[in-house]
Subunit: 200 residues, 2 copies
C-alpha cells in the first residue's frame, strides 16, 4: 500500500521538522516549498505571489498580474486564485501518484482524500510555538513577544481561511485528521519514531 503522509500544522509547532525527519526515516519523498516553486512555474505567476495567495485568505488578496491578460467581466483575482488552487490540486495528486511521500500543508489531506493518506495535524501551545519561532528565525528577533504572538495567530488564521475556502472543511478540526500531535512538551525524535511505526 502506498505510504502517503499529509501534515497540517499550526505555525511554529514543528510540523515541518516532523515531516522532514519522517521522510528521512521512512526513506520517502518530502514536499513543502517545492510545491510553491512548481506552481509558480506552471501558472507563470511569481513565486512570491503564489506563496502569498496560499498563505492568505482569499478575500485578502491583491491582484498582481504577471504574464496574463484579463477579460472584462471576470474577477482577475479569483481567477488567479482558482488557477493556483487548480495547479495545487493537480500537482499534489501527481506527486502522490509518483511515489510515497510526506506533504506539508497545501490542503493535501483534502486533495488526496481518495487515497486515504495518514493525515497528521501538528499543534502546540502558544508559548512553545513562540520559543520555536525565536529559535529558527533569528531575523524576526526584532519582534516583541506581543508582535510575535500576533504574527503566529495571524498566519494560522490565514491558513485556516484558505483551507476552508477551498475544501469546505474546518482547518484543525480533529475529524479531518487521523492523528493530532501536541509538540509543546514532546520529544520530536520519539514522536517521529512512533508515527513511522504507524505508517509502516
Amino acid at each position: 500500500m502506498a505510504k502517503i503522509i499529509t501534515i497540517g500544522r499550526e505555525f511554529g509547532s514543528g510540523g515541518r521538522e516532523i515531516g522532514k525527519r519522517l521522510s528521512d526515516k521512512l526513506g520517502i519523498a518530502y514536499y513543502d516549498n517545492e510545491i510553491i516553486t512548481e506552481i509558480a512555474k506552471r501558472t507563470k505567476l511569481a513565486e512570491g505571489y503564489v506563496e502569498h495567495v496560499m498563505e492568505n485568505s482569499p478575500s485578502n488578496l491583491i491582484p498582481i498580474t504577471i504574464g496574463r491578460t484579463f477579460y472584462m467581466g471576470v474577477d482577475p483575482v479569483m481567477e488567479q486564485n482558482n488557477a493556483i488552487y487548480r495547479e495545487q490540486s493537480l500537482l499534489v495528486k501527481e506527486l502522490a501518484d509518483k511515489s510515497d511521500c510526506v506533504i506539508v500543508g497545501r490542503s493535501a489531506d483534502y486533495i488526496l482524500r481518495e487515497k486515504h493518506p495518514l493525515r497528521l495535524f501538528i499543534y502546540a501551545d502558544l508559548e512553545s510555538r513562540m520559543a520555536r519561532c525565536r529559535k529558527r528565525a533569528p531575523e524576526q528577533e526584532h519582534f516583541t513577544d506581543k508582535e510575535l504572538k500576533r504574527h503566529i495567530l495571524d498566519v494560522d488564521k490565514k491558513r485556516g481561511k484558505y483551507y476552508q475556502f477551498f475544501t469546505g472543511q474546518n482547518w484543525g478540526e480533529r475529524l479531518n485528521y487521523d492523528l493530532c500531535i501536541n509538540t509543546s512538551n514532546a520529544d520530536i525524535e520519539e514522536v517521529v519514531d512512533a508515527i513511522a511505526k504507524l505508517a509502516k
Copy 2:
C-alpha cells in the same frame, strides 16, 4: 520516569479497548470502572449513583441520600457531587502514586497534571462509533440508528459538562492532550503499538 497514561474518549470510539490493550502491552495497571466501585465504597454511596453522577452534568443530578444525613442550608446534591469529585481526585492520585498505569476517563489528565502524564484523547466519526456500539452492546440492539446516535451524543455532552465543571477546561480541546487519535479507520493494534513506543 513514571509511565502514567490518561485516556479521554468519545463514547464508542474504542478508548477503553486502547487503554486495556496498552496496559497489557506495557505490563502496567489499568483503571476504569474500578474507580467507580472504590469511590462508592469510600463515600458510602451506591455504585450506580456514583456512576450516574460521573456520567452526568452536575446540574442534571437527582438527589439520592444513602447512608448520609443532611443539615439545613447545605445543598445535599452539590455536597454529594463534591464528595464524589474529592474522592475521585484522591483516588486517582493514589493510583498514580502506587504504580505505572493507564487511567480511562475520570478527568485523570487534569487531576494528574503535575505528574505530566501522557494524555490521550480518542475520537472517531459518528458512523464508526455507532458500528462499535452495535458490536459491543447487543443489549442496545432495539435502538434505532437515530436513537443510538442521540444516545452517543448525549453521553458525550454529559461527559463534557462534568469534565468542564470540575476542571474548568474544555473536554476534547486538543491543547489539553498530547495526542488525539481518530479510530474511524484505524487498526487498533497498530495504534497501540505506536503509543506504546511513545510511552516507553
